[in-house]
């Protein structure tokens, strides 16, 4: 049977991808940040999964205002790298796992999640930056990826509660998939940041650290955090953190923390990263 072996969370700041693609990771500005991911790259080499269910949000790349799915699950064989306005990132295309993806989609719909099934979805920095941060710059990605795109661009995003419950449903789906597949669930985005308006540059380190503490020990409490609290305390783009709750929900009620890294800033954003396992 398939099994969820770890949960990873990480910010997906586009500037991190740019720094890697341009070889600037040892600059004074970037070095401390990339140093914080060294342990995880090593850990990932020792714990490479077969499949990553990668929860992220599209940033007006695959989806325009023509169509905005709350939850879209990528069931394709392959996902192209999106052009976000400066050409696609020079990283390998992303290979999917259609069989497991369709199984999760069917199982989640039967569990009353109103999934959008998607078979053509160019993936942007939200998905590729986490891969780069955790796998470096390989010729091809070392595992298959099932993208789950969550709307956090047009208000309202799904509630934290809904996200946590979707994580639980993903957990049930993976555990009912017959082939032996080692699956990790990654939740990306955040941490506190605001990219727009006169309040741009907002960071709330106390909020971020409390969020990471509660993510491990009190996810049921986080589940009830209203959107207004993210917007007010963690910046308008801090609401991306609901995606971490999908990862956390997939791990089951108790989790242990294997690693944590936190750094301010990356461009406009606080960067947080954790490795968790079910306990």
């Amino acid at each position: 049977m398939a099994k969820i072996t770890a949960g990873i969370s990480t910010s997906h700041v586009p500037a991190l991808g740019v720094a890697m693609d341009h070889g600037n990771t040892e600059d004074e500005y970037w070095a401390p940040l990339f140093k914080g991911y060294e342990h995880s790259r090593q850990w990932m080499q020792e714990n490479t999964p077969d499949v990553v269910v990668l929860v992220y949000n599209d940033h007006a790349s695959a989806f325009s205002l023509e169509l905005i799915p709350t939850f879209a699950i990528g069931c394709a064989e392959q996902f192209a790298i999106a052009d976000e306005g400066w050409g696609p990132r020079p990283v390998p295309a992303v290979e999917g796992h259609p069989e497991l993806a369709w199984h999760i989609a069917q199982s989640a719909i039967e569990d009353e999640f109103d999934m959008t099934i998607v078979n053509r979805m160019p993936v942007d920095h939200g998905l590729t930056v986490p891969l780069s941060m955790l796998f470096g710059q390989p010729k091809s990605w070392p595992c298959q990826v099932i993208p789950i795109a969550v709307n956090v661009v047009v208000y309202p995003p799904p509630s934290g509660r809904r996200c946590y419950h979707l994580g639980q449903a993903i957990g049930r789906a993976v555990e009912s998939f017959a082939p032996d597949v080692d699956v990790q669930v990654w939740g990306t985005g955040g941490m506190s940041h605001q990219l727009q308006g006169p309040r741009a540059g907002l960071i709330n380190q106390a909020f971020d650290q409390a969020f990471m503490n509660d993510l491990v020990a009190n996810p049921e409490l986080l589940m009830h955090k209203p959107h207004i609290e993210y917007l007010r305390e963690a910046g308008s783009e801090g609401v991306e953190l609901v995606m971490w709750l999908i990862m956390r929900g997939a791990l089951g009620p108790h989790a242990k923390e294997l690693y944590r890294f936190y750094h301010v800033p990356a461009s406009n954003t606080a960067v947080g990263h954790m490795i968790l396992q079910s306990a």
Partner: protein, 129 residues
């Protein structure tokens, strides 16, 4: 739309249904810049390219002037108009600094020092300041 509990957050526009309706075409215009041909056509002749889109005169002026704070108030969304930053070969940091009303070095210094504090930035209501 009712119950906008987020409207008192200073310097912040929440991209809800009302804003998405207002900014539909200006955001769709921005989105078109993910294609290299469109970027080239736009840069070669911005006015003509903009003629193809059903945007208001105010939105048009804000685009031509790269006046992002005004664009926000007219329904522009930052993820959409970031395509315009990149078309201009500007970084997200440079454009965020502009919206924050700061020079890029000052903005970067603020970020390195821990970013903009949340204290005093939670609400425009007096009791919360």
């Amino acid at each position: 739309m009712s119950n906008k509990d987020y409207n008192d957050i200073p310097g912040t526009t929440i991209f809800d249904g009302d804003m998405a309706r207002k900014g539909y075409w200006v955001n769709q215009f921005c989105m078109s810049l993910v294609k290299p041909d469109n970027r080239a056509r736009f840069l070669a002749d911005e006015a003509t390219y903009l003629d193809e889109w059903q945007i208001t005169a105010e939105q048009r002026t804000a685009v031509l002037k790269r006046d992002y704070n005004t664009l926000l108030s007219l329904g522009g969304n930052v993820y959409f108009f970031s395509k315009l930053f990149f078309t201009d070969e500007k970084s997200f940091e440079a454009c965020a600094a502009q919206m924050a009303g700061m020079s890029q070095p000052d903005y970067r210094a603020m970020m390195i020092n821990g970013g903009r504090a949340v204290a005093g930035n939670r609400s425009t209501r007096v009791e919360d300041r």
